[in-house]
Symmetry: C2
Subunit: 210 residues, 2 copies
Amino acid sequence: MRVVVPFDATTPKTRLEDTLEPQERAAFAEAMLADVLAALEETGADPEVLSTGPVNTELPVTIDERPLTQAVNAQLAEASPPMAVVMADLALGTPTAFARLLDASGDVVLVPGRGGGTNAFVSRHPDFRVDYHGVSIRDHRETAAAIGASVSEIDSARLSTDIDKRADLPEVLLRGQGRARDWLAERFNITVTDGRVGVERRSMQSDPSE
Amino acid sequence: MRVVVPFDATTPKTRLEDTLEPQERAAFAEAMLADVLAALEETGADPEVLSTGPVNTELPVTIDERPLTQAVNAQLAEASPPMAVVMADLALGTPTAFARLLDASGDVVLVPGRGGGTNAFVSRHPDFRVDYHGVSIRDHRETAAAIGASVSEIDSARLSTDIDKRADLPEVLLRGQGRARDWLAERFNITVTDGRVGVERRSMQSDPSE
């Protein structure tokens, strides 16, 4: 099965602009991409990248500068099913979690993202197309029903947690295992304020209390 | 196995005070509790409630006015393992998801909550105790290791999504199936603003466009 990982190489992770500098956002996004690709490869899949621009990987890369929805639909239109599409910011993804997606039955297998998105899917139906705008998981359920495709959903916190805003970063520190977790842990600590978990940037000075 | 569901009958869901009136918070909390209990019963379990005060259920209720950590530890101390403890606000929980928890192997089986919490666990070790303050999932992993208990974790978005703040409510509308979802859907709509999903209260007037 083709396993396609879309990647925004142009302006990655803009919703993290309150926390990370532009160069940091690019580095963090690349670390997450590398983790996702490595975990997919460990399942036995041969993932490829669908990127808006050049990206640092030895895996196959297709460049498509169009917005995500159009670029993914072009891939769906040009190849025969099945195809999997996995977002590049699933930094908690493990081989076990991705195998649950790739091995699940159903004409269309959806992974809902927190906040109404669609973090990954498998399509085995030639007419399935995506629209990532708005509440895409609801739209994708309706699209699948409209074309007569059977739908199943994967219940995985690891795959439902896409990392795109500050409130997601504690999840990477607490549950991540790869490059993205290490990159973040070098720069940020977990904090607890009024019982709520967050992150704060580590002091640039060495801290003798640590 | 004893399956205990702690419930705050006194001041439930205070973090939803920006969205729901006190009576609404009580009603919504009771709807979530009823959903959790029903889903647990469908797995074949006999859940019981550990409440800070009277609660409307036909299932067994133990009243313990102490804070959550002390009340749960009292239950762990007084009964022989195994015991499961499941939070009452897991409104996305299904029988399938709860069965994954109850059937998993491990001396201690943990369900991390988004934000560092511990949404549910099974303990088969007589010395396991809880501390729900701070980043409890991290503490519970360390506690289990310290007593020599084997640890496993359940990867379920349904069980990792506890519902306690406004940003959690779209998840109930998009993925919930029970009383809590119906209660919320009668009062709130999904909104999309700048690509981000939220909720807004339905108009009290009938809306001819609907």
